[in-house]
Amino acid sequence: MTALPRQRSPNPHLGAYYGIITAAFVSLAILLAMFEELGWSEGVIARCMILLPLALYLLTAAGSRTLDPEDYFASGRRVPQVYNALVLAAITVGGVGFFAYTGAVFFLGFDALAIGLGWTCGLLLAGVLFVPYLRKAGAYTLPAFLGQRFRSRHVRMTASVLQVVPTALLLAAEMSIAAVVASIFLPLSFWLAVLLVAIFVAAVGILGGMRALTWSGSAEFIAGAVGLAVPLIVVSVLLTHLPAPQFTYGEMFGSLQSAETAAGMLPVTPGDLAPALTGPAPTAVTKPFLQAFGAINEAGFLLLFFTFALGTAALPSLLVRSGVTCSVADQRRSTAWALALVALFVITAPSLAVFAKLLMFRDMALAPTAGVPAWLSELSGRQLVQASDVNGDGTLVASELLVMRDRVALALPMLAELPFVLTALLASAGMAVALAAAGSHLFTLSASLADDVYGVLDKRPIALPRLMAAWAAIAACALFVLVFLLIADVDILRMAVTAFAFAGATFFPVLMLAVWWPRCSAWGALASLATGFGVLFLVVTVGGLFDAAETAVGTGLASLIAAVLALCAGVGTSLYGPGSASVETAYYEEMRKPEGETIFDQAQARTVSARKTGALREL
């Protein structure tokens, strides 16, 4: 029996709603710029620029509240492709991209480009290899898809437990950076900022689940894009007289090289900067931007690229959104739009780093004659840089100026001596993207634990069991990460590398087998999951004693080896292990059919129909 396709028409007023939201955000920035000229203090401007948009996102989430499971877990399967792309791009880039990636490019220049390239190619891999088939399957979570594909509760529960590591690491990283920004610009300690962020992301998840995340996430991405573009375009116009920073920062390379040489930056060799990815603590900038393969060599660059590519392709938080659009074709196009948006960000980020580095070291080179630059005290006051004349010669060189990697983006408007409102705008934008990503990671983690572990173990038909379990899981996970962030001192980029490494090693091989190899059995899937996760876990934990996986490149190498071993384990167990004789291809064939309702919805319709038939017979 085939289910009749349901009417899934998106809200026709979405364009107007998001036009209003964008206009409100831009108007707020313009109003605050006027009030700054009228003498409003920086503290008030920062509070308005950060808290008012937060209220707007929360209002959007409250407007999207729902008690319908399909809306809560799959946003009603009627999200237009571009809106889904906005959220996918926000999850991929996140606060890690906005702050840590731009900071890494500032410190490492050429060598950090592997990360952005990995994100973009990862979305290409996901769009080609997995997304259309997950859309056709229509499962609410990635572990649920694996469970249905292999008809195994064990596969579902194992996948759910294993996805905790990558998702929780990314959640902690995003919440941490959002809290750092809040604590810099609001009169809050880091503790209170983490609490504010945890309450916000938990409230969005509890109110409307995937639906609220979609609509508030779209607003957050728009705010993030506007907030990044405006200050960057202004700086670009000031420096190059053209409002296209992506294509004009090349003109600055000559000045940048002169400034770097004057500040004492000399070419480095791989191994000089250990660990290769700069940490979050205040650090001196030592590597020239244009030097290729100075911090990591070609092999390390490739490994880092593949770690991020495979991790992005198999990231549960991205793949869980594969069921929210109207059709398979829409979902495929949505991923393509997301890739275009991520590519635009990745193309833009180096311009921010180049402008910041040029402004910082050009002014320092002029310091002996022109005096200490005005921005130095402002940046020091906000704890974005630390400067000390160590050798007492009255000048500052690169080694005497310590910069915090994750705060480089925030420093740009101050370095260009722009009005404070643009700094607050950039902070608000970065925080918005970090919150969108954190909300999605929290929902993915909690919905899976509630639906794939608790839901499988406890099948009693209580009223609202599914949503209540999800709400409880969201609250518990937010509390857990809150406590973790209060105890641990985290490096968000290092956590992101580890999270993408775990996602790639654990889920990429099993998804390849599930989607592209009909003979893969449930035991094969279990072997693949366990091998990928187990090998990387051993290397990261036990291997730490032998200096393996100590660096980002080491983790990347371990991740790739684990992924290859997991693929071999999955194939070997499927061919020669238990259950290899019974090859079940009906689900596999249906999943590859591009037309029609999702397999999950067809099964739901069959269940409803069977219940009705049973009731009629009883009558």
Binding site: F110, C121, L124, G250, L302, R332, T335, A336, I347
Partner: protein
């Protein structure tokens, strides 16, 4: 139109499905191979490419910072277009059968 037995219909359906899967596999391999080969070749030859300049950028840096990303976007939209045509062909064939 001649009447077809259920076996013939079944065989035609299988043929359409197999053709669809083969084409899907071919376009997936082409897309990924093009993108990944471009990335790997650029990384391997980046130092040599950096001796050339393009739009004020060293060429190796330009390709890794912008060129490959633009290429990935183009390849993705090409893939979407071709795959939709393949899916459409399968739907039409199945309707005829």
């Amino acid at each position: 139109m001649t009447a077809q037995g259920p076996e013939t219909e079944h065989a035609a359906e299988h043929a359409a499905r197999d053709r669809h899967q083969l084409r899907t596999l071919a376009v997936a391999i082409t897309t990924l191979a093009a993108a990944l080969c471009a990335v790997i070749v650029t990384i391997v030859y980046a130092l040599s490419l950096n001796r050339l300049w393009f739009l004020h950028f060293p060429l190796g840096l330009y390709l890794l910072a912008q060129g490959l990303l633009i290429f990935a976007v183009v390849v993705t939209f090409w893939y979407v277009r071709v795959q939709e045509r393949i899916d459409h062909t399968r739907s039409v064939t199945e309707e005829i059968v």
